[in-house]
């Protein structure tokens, strides 16, 4: 069951801008809809909706988190990390990249949150990581 939008929607279009899958459609001022075949349950729309008119896949109302700085971000725990690229691939907004140093003996590259602003706190990286090498935390929180 994908996410959906109730008739509380005022058609402000913020969800449309934040959706990484271009899954939301609707005219300005009109109730928006989510294309079920495209929705990936990332919850980005739910977090930005000023009306709290988005229902998650369990039909619960998504809680708005008004300021993005209070959104959780992935933190990589290197001692657990396998450098397996699963987290990088799981990210729908391309915000995780690689980092490595040419000088050290450890020739592995490790994932790093490259673009904090792009992160939509979908948690997919943490969910998909098989070895618990990613925890979701509110920066400075």
């Amino acid at each position: 069951m994908p996410y959906s939008i109730t008739d509380k929607c005022i058609g402000c279009g913020i969800c449309k801008m934040v959706c990484p899958m271009e899954a939301i459609e609707g005219k300005r001022g009109k109730v928006h809809t989510i294309k079920s075949d495209l929705c990936i349950d990332c919850d980005a729309c739910g977090k930005v909706c000023p009306q709290e008119s988005v229902l998650d896949n369990q039909k619960n109302i998504c809680k708005r988190i008004r300021f993005k700085k209070y959104w959780e971000k992935p933190r990589i725990i290197r001692k657990n990390c396998m450098s397996c690229t699963i987290c990088i691939d799981s990210c729908p907004v391309d915000c995780i990249g690689w980092t490595f140093t040419k000088d050290t003996k450890d020739k592995r590259a490790y994932p790093v949150l490259e673009n904090e602003k792009k992160c939509i706190a979908c948690r997919f990286c943490a969910i998909e990581c098989p070895v618990d090498a990613i925890e979701m935390v509110i920066p400075g929180g």
């Binding site: 990484p20 899958m21 271009e22 899954a23 495209l38 990936i40 349950d41 396998m82 450098s83 397996c84 690229t85 699963i86 691939d89 990210c91 729908p92 391309d94 990249g97 490595f100 040419k102 020739k107 592995r108 590259a109 997919f124 969910i127 998909e128 098989p130 070895v131």
Partner: protein
């Protein structure tokens, strides 16, 4: 809750520009898995028997694996499949990198191309809609530059690209399909199929979720598997491992091999770890398979030591979902600024096979072949053939435009490969592999082409391990070193999961390897069945070296799909896939016997010196026994109606 697979495939007709989505019923996955099995199911009756592999009727599939993206490890491989222009029968090729999850993230288990486009195009899929876009400006560009250009153009970091280089465009029958900047699905000549369709590239930028049935269970199994990867036994330094190879050669007996050792070697050096030790043991064919380890001794092979390649690695390369990272990105060798580390197969097919021990030339050629999109094994094998023809006077300086094709002449080898890529002069003759070239040259030159069904053999000598001769000869896509052998059977440790399978002996005389008994045909068939399961799930061969207990493919499958199948059930699926691929070949007029590998590779006549002196492989007996094991006719290799019925193949 998902089942690990996406449940549909996309057909793209390049002739009409139409897209057609097809739902795949659950029962098909239960019978054939995804990946290679699903490809065999889809292509079996859709490619007409008279289809020209380079014509519009051939279908080229880009397939992902069932376990890809489910949280399992070592499961990031994708497969190209279609009718091979090189062998005329079933063709498949397999590659790592990050393309496999990208296929599923577009919502499909496979994207299959039919027809021929009028102008060069590339396939693009981002979030929702597939498109065919003009590729005229990319035509002629090398694979690495093509990929970089397409990713830049797409403006998506996450986009993954598979493409062909000039070799595929020129329909070289030994060309492959590149992804992740020069990793290659090289075998079966499927690059030529892509070139014939004027499909330059496939660009995938989807972000769909891949949902397993029980993610927590898949992850639990993955953590255990990762623990096994991390516990690595101590390693010998580079030169010591080479000396160990010499010692192993002298001993009359050998011990069962635990693949954990290989995992440690792969972790430190990648496949290049085998460069010297394999030559010393007698595993590497030398001088177009007529030489021996004595011709390429430690003094010669030292320049190609594992360290010679790993020293220039500045960062390890991990394919998707791989905890090991046997690849590496190198800089500062030869004329190459940045390239994938040459693999053992490439090093030896351009090294020992040609008596070339100049590492810089191998670095350069590895990069040149990756960019051109040409199979380095077949390129090396074909050059070896040409060098021997030159030695025997069947081709002369006049034919080679002045190149002196002498053994180990790195400069001439490089120039010749350049000609093959460009199809210039003698390069045009050699660009389709050694068997086709031999037919054109005539004069017994076929004796110098070492192949199976037209495909050059990998760098593992069947006079050292006869299992390689078997799988080179009996696989539907012949000339394959990545399915099975006696060594692989020991490392797969399948008997720990499938109780009916024989346990490999802990210690045995080397000569017993060459005695063809029932146990060997059972283990050979088991390797093929298991490899179909691995190729149905997108699993890496090197992961399989951990052994079936440490790499829990069967358990991952149950957790990802929600099925409750036994290892025996999965091995039956492997058997079904193998039988269907064989039926594909029969349908396309292939006589299985014709895929028997060249006499030279099986010791006819036997070598007079070196590690494999005096050894001959009883290949006919092995093939007949193997076929019988599958309930195929032991004389012809054709699946019996009873087997087809038992396996419920439509």
């Amino acid at each position: 809750m998902g089942k690990g697979y996406m449940g549909k495939v996309l057909f793209v007709n390049l002739g009409t520009g139409q897209f057609h989505e097809e739902m795949v019923p659950d029962r098909i996955y239960e019978k054939y898995l995804s990946g290679i099995g699903l490809a065999a199911y889809l292509l079996y009756d859709r490619i007409p028997t008279d289809a020209d592999p380079l014509g519009p009727d051939n279908i080229l599939g880009f397939m992902s694996g069932l376990l890809t993206g489910t949280g399992s490890l070592f499961t990031g491989r994708w497969m190209a499949a279609g009718k091979s222009p090189l062998t005329g029968g079933w063709g498949d090729s397999n590659c790592g990198g990050n393309l496999s999850p990208a296929i599923k993230r577009c919502g499909y288990d496979g994207i299959l191309f039919t027809g021929i486009s009028r102008k060069p195009v590339y396939f693009f899929m981002n979030k929702s809609k597939p498109e065919l876009r003009d590729a005229s400006e990319l035509w002629g560009m090398d694979a690495v530059e093509t990929e970089k250009r397409l990713i830049r153009k797409a403006g998506l970091k996450r986009a993954h690209v598979a493409c062909i280089g000039p070799a595929g465009e020129k329909r070289s029958l030994i060309s492959g399909i590149s992804n992740d900047l020069g990793r290659m699905a090289a075998r079966s000549g499927l690059g030529a199929v892509m070139g014939s369709k004027r499909l330059k590239a496939v660009v995938l930028g989807g972000a769909k979720r891949i949902k397993p049935h029980d993610l927590q269970m898949v992850k639990k199994l993955s953590r255990k598997c990762n623990d096994a990867v991390k516990e690595s036994p101590p390693l010998l330094a580079g030169i010591m491992s080479a000396r160990m190879g010499s010692l192993l050669r002298i001993l009359p007996a050998q011990m069962i091999t635990d693949g954990k050792l290989y995992i440690s070697l792969l972790d430190k050096w990648g496949t290049s770890s085998m460069n010297q030790i394999s030559v010393e043991m007698g595993d590497t064919p030398i001088k177009n398979w007529k030489g021996t380890n004595e011709d390429f001794g430690l003094d010669k092979s030292a320049a190609l030591s594992p360290d010679a390649f790993s020293d220039s690695v500045f960062v390890k390369y991990h394919c998707y979902s791989c905890p090991l990272g046997c690849g590496g990105i190198c800089s500062g060798k030869g004329n190459v600024k940045e390239t994938h580390k040459p693999e053992y197969e490439t090093v030896m097919s351009l090294g020992g096979l040609l008596m070339n021990n100049d590492p810089d030339s191998i670095f350069d050629l590895n990069d040149i072949l990756n960019r051109a999109g040409m199979d380095s094994i077949s390129a090396g094998g074909t050059v070896a053939f040409a060098l021997e023809c030159y030695e025997k006077g069947l081709i002369t300086k006049k034919d080679t435009d002045g190149l002196e094709l002498t053994w180990g002449n790195a400069k001439a080898i490089k120039a010749l490969i350049g000609k093959m890529i460009a199809r210039e002069g003698i390069g045009d003759l050699l660009a389709d592999g050694s068997k086709i070239a031999a037919k054109k040259i005539g004069h017994h030159s076929l004796n110098y082409s070492v192949h199976a069904g037209g495909q050059e053999l990998g760098m593992h000598d069947s006079r050292y391990d006869p299992g390689f001769a078997l799988h080179n000869s009996v696989e539907a896509a012949p000339g394959r070193h990545t399915v099975g052998s006696q060594l692989y059977y020991e490392m797969y440790q399948l008997w720990k999961k499938v109780k009916s399978l024989p346990k490999a002996d802990i210690m045995y005389s080397k000569n017993t390897k060459f005695v063809m008994d029932k146990e060997k045909t059972i283990s050979g068939a088991a390797c093929s069945k298991y490899m179909n399961v691995l190729n149905g799930t997108g699993t890496c061969l090197f992961g399989a070296f951990l052994g079936a207990e440490r790499l829990p493919v069967f358990e991952w499958l149950n957790a990802a799909t929600g099925w409750n199948k036994t290892p025996e059930d999965y091995m039956e699926i492997g058997e079904r896939i193998q039988t269907l691929k064989q039926m594909f070949n029969i349908r396309h007029g292939i006589e299985p016997k014709a895929f028997q590998c060249s006499d030279r590779a099986i010791g006819r006549p036997p070598l007079e010196a070196g590690a494999n002196k005096g050894r001959t492989v009883e290949i006919e007996k092995m093939m007949a026994g193997y076929w019988e094991e599958f309930e195929w006719d032991r004389r012809t290799g054709k699946p019996m109606p009873s087997a087809i019925q038992r396996l419920d193949i439509p």
